[in-house]
């Protein structure tokens, strides 16, 4: 990648007492990239976010933001960084304007530039109408936006968002995702989540962490390379005979999905669509639907995190 690396994480490990939360994690983000950071609960996502944002010191390894090491030059590095933790760090007793002014001041924005900075951040996050309201009286979605505004008020090159859509209603989720895509135009964004469609909707690159180690780091478009199988969803009017489907060439396994729908897992390069159509016509099952699922992130995610469990079990044995 030719563009400048804004965030570099090198060999970061972190343990809490005997528990190894992160194990030798390395990754980087280039300018203008949106990185989805996936993992099951308790895999170390939040710990990683906390380390990158300077809230937690790594046991070993280094983090550098726009060329400044977070441990040796914390001030310069943190100035390049906006962070929205899982729970937005808001003061309920302040109004939105007061709060954002305070955040601007904390990020060393001069007095003269604070108001324009505040207005830009409010506009970006759709907060224009609530400036005078107390944060404590706002709905959860708006509080989340205030948290986002706080993270981008000083126009940091790197924005870290830890599960920004948690607990929001579907409409708010859509708005926040849209906002994240907007942010991705000017900032590099790390988006931590365990909601898979979110990553598909907003990220350029995806990274999966499991049990403290990175198990995948690739762009969304080349995810298929990691798949061991592809998936077809087929619907019939009559209940089909699964064993006949199973016998088709290139089919790995068949799973009934309800009475009349079937999920067909096949080899990556095989395409049994034609054969299924023919078979269905011959047996008069009444084919009503057949659609390739492409690469399902969910499937990949399950595959990768399951693999790890197997190897972990193997290592223990």
């Amino acid at each position: 990648m030719s563009s400048e690396l804004l965030l570099e994480v090198k060999g970061v490990s972190r343990s809490y007492g005997n528990i190894q939360a992160l194990n030798n994690i390395s990754f980087s983000i280039a300018q203008g990239e949106v990185l989805g950071f996936l993992g099951p609960n308790g895999a170390g996502k939040t710990t990683t976010m906390q380390i990158i944002s300077g809230n937690l010191a790594p046991s070993t390894g280094s983090v550098s933001i726009a060329g400044h090491d977070l441990l040796t030059e914390p001030r310069a590095a943190k100035a390049m960084l906006g962070y929205l933790p899982e729970q937005p760090p808001i003061y309920r007793e302040l109004t939105v304007d007061e709060y954002l002014d305070y955040c601007a001041a904390l990020n060393r924005i001069d007095r003269a530039r604070r108001k324009p900075a505040r207005d830009t951040a409010k506009e970006k996050c759709g907060l224009q109408d609530v400036g005078k309201r107390l944060i404590g009286n706002l709905s959860k979605g708006f509080r989340q936006r205030v948290g986002l505004a706080q993270a981008v008020i000083h126009l940091p090159p790197v924005v870290i968002l830890d599960e920004p859509t948690i607990g929001l209603d579907p409409l708010q989720i859509r708005e926040i995702r849209h906002l994240i895509r907007e942010l991705g135009k000017d900032h590099s964004v790390i988006l931590s989540t365990h909601i898979l469609p979110e990553v598909r909707a907003s990220c350029d690159r995806v990274q999966i962490i499991n049990k403290g180690s990175l198990v995948l780091n690739d762009s969304i478009d080349s995810l298929s390379r990691h798949m061991k199988s592809s998936l077809l969803t087929v619907g019939f009017r009559q209940a089909p005979d699964l064993s006949l489907l199973q016998a088709l060439e290139g089919v790995q396994s068949v799973q009934a999905d309800g009475k009349r729908r079937v999920q067909v897992f096949c080899d990556r390069n095989a395409d049994p669509t034609d054969q299924i159509v023919k078979l269905a016509a011959k047996k008069e099952w009444g084919l009503v639907e057949i659609s390739p699922q492409g690469v399902s992130l969910e499937q990949l995610f399950l595959e990768l995190t399951k693999d790890d469990q197997k190897t972990a079990a193997g290592a223990e044995a």
């Binding site: 001030r75 906006g82 962070y83 003061y91 007061e98 955040c103 001041a105 904390l106």
Partner: protein, 246 residues
């Protein structure tokens, strides 16, 4: 940066009813004590006239008022300082400060300064009472100033202890009661009988009382300053340890 944090701390205090309640309660209680001291003085006055070098009105009224103020504030300050850090920890807002380009020292100094400014205001209100005596009496300004200085140093110490206790926990009530306990212990340290006891040297009261008599000893001032610095450094270390997660 320190001032930004201090200012916000002050604002938060005044948004909450607690600060107003403390201002009011302290003022009422001390006003009552002040009036009682004056009444007592008026009863004693005929006898004092017969004594050579008798203590004056400043020492008997103002000195005692500052003495009582210290006790009342010993009870009130923990309530003011308890929320400083623990509340931010509880509401998870500490990460806002941690991920901003500011150092732990700035955070701690900002919080401390915010709290001390509030106490300064309280002190101003308390001082207005003895100043009203100027109407009918000759006051010894020296004693008033030295008492004021002593009380300022003492309160700074109270605030530093409170701040440190607040970094230890996420429950304000726990911070308040521990602050109160530590302060009371430091207050009473000289109670252990032996006169040469080194513990007595650490007693806050021993280093405060001379100020009330108009006696400015640089050792006493140094003690208070060291006391403040110690607890501020401990607070910075504590917050740093938070980040290291140990």
């Amino acid at each position: 940066m320190i001032f930004t944090i201090a200012l916000r701390e002050l604002k938060t205090l005044f948004i909450s009813p607690l600060a107003w309640a403390i201002l009011a309660v302290v003022q009422v209680v001390l006003a009552f004590m002040f009036l009682a001291h004056i009444e007592e003085y008026l009863l004693l006055q005929p006898q004092l006239l017969t004594i050579d070098n008798a203590p004056g009105v400043t020492e008997l009224v103002v000195g005692r008022l500052f003495g009582s103020a210290a006790i009342v504030l010993l009870l009130a300050v923990p309530l003011l300082t308890m929320r400083l850090i623990s509340d931010e920890r509880h509401n998870r807002t500490l990460s806002l400060l941690f991920s901003a380009p500011i150092s732990m020292t700035e955070i701690v100094l900002g919080k401390f300064l915010g709290c001390v400014s509030f106490l300064g205001l309280l002190l101003l209100l308390i001082t207005l009472m003895p100043l009203s005596l100027f109407v009918g009496a000759n006051l010894d300004i020296g004693i008033i100033l030295s008492g004021l200085l002593g009380l300022t140093l003492l309160l700074a110490g109270f605030a530093a202890v409170g701040l440190f206790m607040s970094t230890l926990t996420q429950y304000p009530a726990v911070a308040a009661i521990s602050t109160f306990g530590v302060l009371l212990l430091f207050w009473l340290l000289d109670w252990s009988g032996d006169e040469n006891n080194w513990l007595g040297q650490l007693s806050l009261m021993n280093h405060y009382e001379p100020f009330l008599r108009g006696l400015f000893d640089s050792t006493d001032a140094a003690f208070h300053i060291l006391f403040v610095v110690t607890f501020l450094v401990l607070s910075v270390r504590r917050l740093d340890a938070d980040r290291l997660g140990s």
